[in-house]
Each structure stands twice: as C-alpha cells, then as structure tokens.
C-alpha cells in the first residue's frame, strides 16, 4: 500500500492522481481464520486493526453483510467527547479521545478530527451544579473540563438565543478537547490500515447461521460460504440480539431502538463548536460539517424498532429544539434525515466481554455513544480477544454486572433502555 505523504501526492500528480493503489483488497474468503470479527463497522474494523497492530495477530477476517461503514458508522452525528464520570467509563472514553487525537497519524489517513469543543448548555442553577459536579469529577481524573459563564459563552458562540429563550441560557459545561471527526474517513482509515496489516475484509458476507457445539462455535454459515475460526468476535451493535439468538444463546440486556440524525443544506460558517441543549425533556445536539451543513440529532424514537427510518414527532421535536436555541436556523432547509438502529442496554453502558461460549467474544450495547467509542472499543476488544483477560478498565462491562448489582448507569435512569439517551 502506498503511504499518503507529500512526496507521493507530488509524484502521483504526474499521472493526474490516477496511479494510487486500491485502498483495501477484495479477497476471496479462506476456509479458516484464526480470528473472525463479525461486523465491518467502525468497531469491527478497529478491533481487527488493533489485533494486528498491538497484538501481532495474523489471519484475521472482518465480515460485513453490506459494505463497510454502511450501517451505524454512516448514521451518526460524528461527535467525539469523553465527559463521563462513572468508574470504567471515564477511563475508557478518555482513552478513546486520546486515540482519536493521534488517529490520523496512526492510520496514515486523515480522519478530520476537529477538537472544536463540546459545549453543553445549562439553563438553571440546578443544572449548572449538576454539570459542575460531573465536570469536576472529570478534572479529578485528568480530563479537561471547564464551566463557561454567560459572557464567555456569548463571546465564543454569538448566535444562540440569548434574548428571549423560554429557558434562558445561563452558561455551559465545556470540554475543549472534544469535537467531531469525519465518519467515512474513520471507516476507510481503519479498513485501509487493517488491510495493509493483512486483515481480510469480506464485504457482502452476511452471517446466516451459527453452527455450534456445547461450549463453542464450530463455524459460521455466511452468504459467501462456511467459515471456520479459532476465535470469533461479535461487533454488530444494533442487531446483536439477532446474532446472539442465531448462536442459541437466548436473551441479552439489550433492546434495539432507533435514533435519528439530520443534515441541512450547506451554509456559510456559522457554528464552530458542538452545542448540546437539554432541558424540559428536550435533547438536542448540533454542529456544522466541513461542507457547511448543519448536522443535528435529538432523542430516540421512544419505541423498540429495527426499522432504519425515523418517525415524524421526533423531526418536530428536533426542529423545535433548534428554534429554541438557534432561531437563526428558522429558514434553513433539511436535506436528509435517517435513523440508525442501536443496542440500547439496560444501564446505558456497553459490553466488551467474554460469553458463555469459550471462543466467542462480545462487543455490543453502544447506546448513543458508538462513534466516539470506536477506537477504544477496538483497542480493548482486541486486548480481550488476544489476552483472554478483560483489561481492568472494562472488567465490569460484562453481562454479569446486572446480577451482581454493579450496573454502570451514567444517568441513573434505571433498567429501561429507552431512557439512556
């Protein structure tokens, strides 16, 4: 694979930039692999990459039922942050943010990570105190966090509704190192880097059946033939339950819900932060893409669903929230909106863990936060698969935590998946 650097761009200039290699191969599936990761989204690709890079594993395949990055990797609002406070979560997400900071160099692929700051507005003294508590916990763990008063906020983001908002803006809790990245670039970067380390990326390869013995999986039936592997990882968040039941493993602490995202027509630079608004039941987050579109999202659709299409009440809710904090968007036109199917877990936290089967490993339950988590998800999942031992940061992110009473419930919302937004 040709590396991306100034010299190679210059050299390829002589041939109109048409001499670049394929970014990743389209290999014929082998009959047997050492490790198979099911799911060619960001988490699956990142896992394969770190297995090859950090643990020197060879003979790895990633199976993707459609095309890589065509699932939830392409259906998110690309926000990256690490403002978590529960033990396990803050170490995990901080590690992820650190990986993002160096990801473009590491992958030799520009993932367009932009640390434009994540600005979470508050509208009451109670909300301010809550934010201060959370952000102080972050500071105590070495993550950057600050509280902006109204003047600082006005100076940094002048276009919010400071005049006549129903819930007047009082200030914001801010993580400056947070921001967003380009989702396609992250997918392609991980795919290209994994492929260059010898990982077979098998697209249009849907798992249609799981053949197992008492204690392990013997082979996977796929649309491209029967594949065997010594170790198998599931990274198919959104549809984890479907695959889990295909393997005859019963129920999971997960419900599949859908979350919508919206993109408007392109406009001139308006907003160079990620702004989050949450008050009176509303939940809204917005940023501006490099192409100039406003990208935003809100709450879940509130009922369980595997349909990748959103409902209209949520479109209205998001439009109302947009008008509440940025009335200047009133006449902007929506270009696209879509819904992604997510694993909503019973406590709002993820699973990277071993399973009842000896050669099966689980990566699931990403709730709202799959995109920002993807590098660390791959990093820790690869570590688990290679070393057979969960890293101490994710030692409680398993399926047994509910029975043990050590739920990792960041919002304190209880065992109702739709509430962990």
């Amino acid at each position: 694979m040709t590396r991306f650097n100034a010299w190679n761009v210059f050299k390829n200039g002589f041939t109109g930039q048409k001499s670049w290699d394929r970014q990743w191969r389209d290999p014929v599936p082998k009959k047997e692999y050492d490790i198979i990761i099911v799911g060619g989204g960001l988490h699956g690709l990142a896992t394969a990459y770190y297995l090859a890079k950090n643990h020197n594993k060879k003979n790895i395949a990633v199976l993707e039922k459609g095309w890589i990055g065509g699932g939830n990797a392409g259906r998110n609002t690309t926000i990256v942050r690490s403002n978590y406070m529960m033990p396990g979560n803050h170490e995990f997400y901080e590690h992820s943010l650190k990986l993002w900071e160096d990801l473009s160099h590491d992958l030799n692929y520009n993932v367009m990570f932009s640390q434009r700051a994540h600005v979470s507005l508050f509208h009451s003294p109670g909300a301010r105190d809550g934010a201060a508590r959370r952000y102080n916990i972050m500071r105590l763990h070495g993550t950057d966090a600050e509280i902006w008063d109204l003047d600082t906020l006005k100076k940094n983001i002048p276009h919010l509704n400071y005049d006549d908002a129903r819930f007047p803006i009082m200030g914001a809790a801010v993580q400056r190192r947070a921001g967003n990245a380009r989702h396609d670039s992250a997918v392609w970067g991980f795919a290209r880097a994994a492929d260059s380390l010898g990982v077979d990326i098998l697209q249009n390869c849907e798992v249609t059946g799981v053949k197992r013995s008492q204690n392990n999986i013997e082979s996977l039936e796929t649309s491209r033939g029967t594949l065997k592997a010594k170790k198998i990882g599931f990274a198919v968040a959104g549809h984890t339950s479907v695959l889990w039941q295909m393997a005859g493993l019963g129920n999971l602490p997960i419900e599949s819900h859908k979350l919508q995202a919206f993109v408007t027509e392109s406009i001139k630079p308006l907003l160079d932060h990620v702004v989050v608004y949450g008050v009176g039941g509303a939940h809204f987050y917005i940023s501006q893409s490099d192409k100039g579109s406003m990208v935003f999202g809100g709450d879940l659709d509130w009922y369980k669903s595997y349909a990748q299409r959103g409902n209209l009440p949520i479109v209205q809710d998001c439009a109302e929230a947009a008008m509440a904090i940025m009335p200047c968007l009133g006449r902007i036109r929506l270009l696209r909106h879509w819904a992604g199917v997510m694993d909503m877990s019973m406590d709002g936290s993820f699973f990277i863990c071993k399973t009842p089967l000896s050669n099966l490993y689980l990566n699931a339950g990403w709730n709202y936060g799959g995109f920002k988590a993807s590098p660390a998800s791959g990093w820790y999942f690869a570590d688990l698969i290679a070393n057979e031992q969960p890293h101490k940061h994710i030692q409680n992110h398993n399926l047994e935590r509910f029975e043990k009473g050590i739920n990792i419930d960041e919002r304190g919302a209880g065992p109702d998946p739709k509430l962990h937004g």
Partner: protein, 94 residues
C-alpha cells in the same frame, strides 16, 4: 407516525402514548432467586418481528394497552387493554 387503536378512545397518533416495553415478561415469585429476577428485569428477547408490548395512553384515557406490533414494519396486529377487567368494560363500550 404509528396509529394505535385504543379500545376506549379510538384510533390515535402514537405521540399520545408512552411506550412501556416487552409485554411477555413474567415476573417470578418474590422469594425467587436473584438470577431469576435478573432475567426478568434486565434480559430481553428483543424480537425482530411481531412482538407483544405495552403502551400507556398517557395523553388520553390513561389505560395500559397490550399491543402486538412488528418491530420491522411497525404494523399493528392487535390492541387490547392489559387488565382483563378493563377489557370487559371496553368491549361493552364498543
């Protein structure tokens, strides 16, 4: 928009309702072991297809309903009141 035919109020937008969850859960006896309670409270079949689920007509008659709905197409097959006694009343009404 999903339209739910409430047995008391008639057909209404789903935005009048609050989603409950899986209606097939059977809670174990109070003195059952923790593992059984864990299964009932935290573990779900998460069906991809027709499933029984509960909805609360929050902004209507406030009945809890048991709805059979496809989680792929959102098509609704049947709606009835959760409580059998109330079902009798709603039947008389129609």
């Amino acid at each position: 928009m999903i339209r739910i035919k409430c047995p008391y109020c008639g057909e209404r937008d789903h935005s009048e309702f609050t989603y409950g969850g899986d209606a097939s859960i059977k809670y174990p006896a109070l003195d059952a072991p923790a593992s059984e309670w864990t299964k009932a409270i935290f573990f779900r079949e998460n069906i991809r297809g027709m499933q029984k689920e509960t909805w609360h007509h929050t902004n209507g008659c406030r009945l809890w309903l048991e709805v059979e709905r496809s989680t792929i197409t959102h098509e609704i097959k049947s709606v009835k009141a959760c409580h059998p006694q109330i079902e009798k009343i709603t039947k008389n009404k129609s």
